[in-house]
Amino acid sequence: MNTPAAMTWQKNPELAWREIDDQTVIISPNDSVMHELNDTGSFLWKNIDGIKSVGELAELLVENYEVTPHVALSDTQALLEEMSSRKLVATVAETGVVLP
C-alpha cells in the first residue's frame, strides 16, 4: 500500500535520535531498540516535520539527490511505510495534531 502523496507525517515524539557520519541513530526508549537510517533516510528524517507532505518530501529528494520524481516518490513512500511499521513516524491524521 502506497501512502498518498498528499499525506503528512511526523516523528514519534517519544524517540531519541542523533546524526553522526551522515547517518541517523534512533533509540526507542520504551523497548530499547536502536534503529539506523542511511544517508537518504537521514535526509528524509530531518525533513519530516508534520507539515511537509509526502509529495513535498519527494521533491526535496529530487532537489538534493540524482533521482527522478517517480523514483523519489516511490522511495519516500516506501521509507515512510517502513518507518511507520517500526513506530518511528505516524501520520498527522492518526495523531490528530502536529506534535512539537
Binding site: E14, L15, R18, I20, D21, V25, I27, P29, M34, E36
Partner: protein, 261 residues
C-alpha cells in the same frame, strides 16, 4: 583513604558514605546487616564529600509527594528518585543494593556527561584502555592478562567527560574477578571492541561504528524520552571524541603490543 563512616543518622541508625566516579553518595539505613554488606562491598570507595547524595534505604515512612523523576524496580526492590531525596525500598540483600546503586548511577551520570559501560578498564602508562564487548568477548581475559593493580574494573566501566576530555573511573562493579574494585581514574586512551581472533590486531573505527558498539553495552534503565536524548547526546560525543578500534584478540598478553600508545 578515609575510614568508612558510621554515624548516628537522623531517623536512621547508620550512614555510609562512598563515591563512585566522583558521584558522592550517602546510604542511610537502620539495618546493620545491610550496613555491613555496604561496608564490605564499597570499602575501597569510601569518601567524605561535603554534599553527598543522601539515599534513604528501607525507610518505612510513606512518601506523600509528586511522581518521582526516575523510578525503577528490580526483584521487589524499588528505586525512587525525587527532586528532594532518593529512596531505595524493599532491599533485602547486597545484590539488590548493588543493582539499585548501579541503576541510580546510570541515571545520575547524565548530569555529569557520563555513563556506565559493560567494559573492562585497564591502566597502562597513566592512560585508561577500555575493552568492551558482550559476555564472553574477553573482558575478564583482558583483565587477567594485565599487570596486577592496573585493572580498574573487569566488568562495568564508568566514563565521564571532564574539562574537555574523557576520563575512566574504577567501579566496585566487578565480574569474574569478584574483587573490591579500584577507586582511581585516568584519561581515556581509547575504546577497544573485542573480537575473538587467531592474531592480535587493531583497526581504527569511524564514530558511527563506535556509537554502534557503545549503545548495546551501555547500562541505562530509564524509558524517559528526554533522559534517552541526553544519553544519546553524551554517547555521540564520546564516539566522536574518543578513538575507537576493533581489537582482534587472540587471548594472550601480546595484545598490548598492538595497542596504540
Amino acid at each position: 583513604m578515609n575510614a568508612p563512616l558510621a554515624n548516628p543518622g537522623r531517623d536512621f541508625g547508620q550512614q555510609f558514605e562512598f563515591s563512585i566516579g566522583c558521584v558522592p553518595l550517602c546510604l542511610e539505613m537502620s539495618d546493620l546487616r545491610l550496613y555491613g554488606a555496604a561496608l564490605a562491598r564499597y570499602a575501597a570507595f569510601t569518601s567524605a564529600a561535603e554534599k553527598p547524595i543522601h539515599i534513604a534505604l528501607n525507610n518505612a515512612a510513606p512518601p506523600e509527594r509528586a511522581l518521582p523523576d526516575f523510578a525503577y524496580e528490580f526483584e521487589g526492590a524499588a528505586l525512587r528518585a525525587f527532586s528532594s531525596d532518593i529512596r531505595f525500598d524493599g532491599v533485602r540483600n547486597q545484590y539488590a543494593l548493588d543493582s539499585l546503586v548501579r541503576v541510580f548511577l546510570s541515571w545520575k551520570l547524565l548530569e555529569h556527561q557520563g555513563f556506565l559501560l559493560h567494559a573492562a578498564t585497564v591502566m597502562q602508562g597513566e592512560k585508561a584502555y577500555i575493552f568492551t564487548g558482550r559476555s564472553g568477548a574477553g573482558k575478564s581475559t583482558v583483565a587477567s592478562l594485565s599487570p596486577a593493580g592496573s585493572v580498574l574494573t573487569d566488568e562495568i566501566s564508568l566514563l565521564r567527560r571532564e574539562e574537555g576530555g574523557w576520563r575512566a573511573y574504577g567501579t566496585p562493579f566487578w565480574g569474574e574477578f569478584k574483587a573490591a574494585g579500584s577507586n582511581s581514574s585516568a584519561p581515556v586512551a581509547g575504546i577497544f571492541r573485542l573480537l575473538q581472533a587467531t592474531e592480535n590486531r587493531v583497526e581504527l573505527l569511524r564514530p558511527m561504528t563506535i556509537l554502534r558498539t557503545l549503545l548495546p553495552n551501555v547500562l541505562f534503565f530509564s524509558a524517559d524520552a528526554e533522559a534517552n536524548r541526553r544519553l544519546l547526546e553524551i554517547l555521540s560525543r564520546a564516539a566522536t571524541e574518543i578513538k575507537g578500534y576493533n581489537l582482534s584478540f587472540s587471548k594472550n598478553a601480546a595484545f598490548w603490543e598492538v595497542l596504540p600508545a
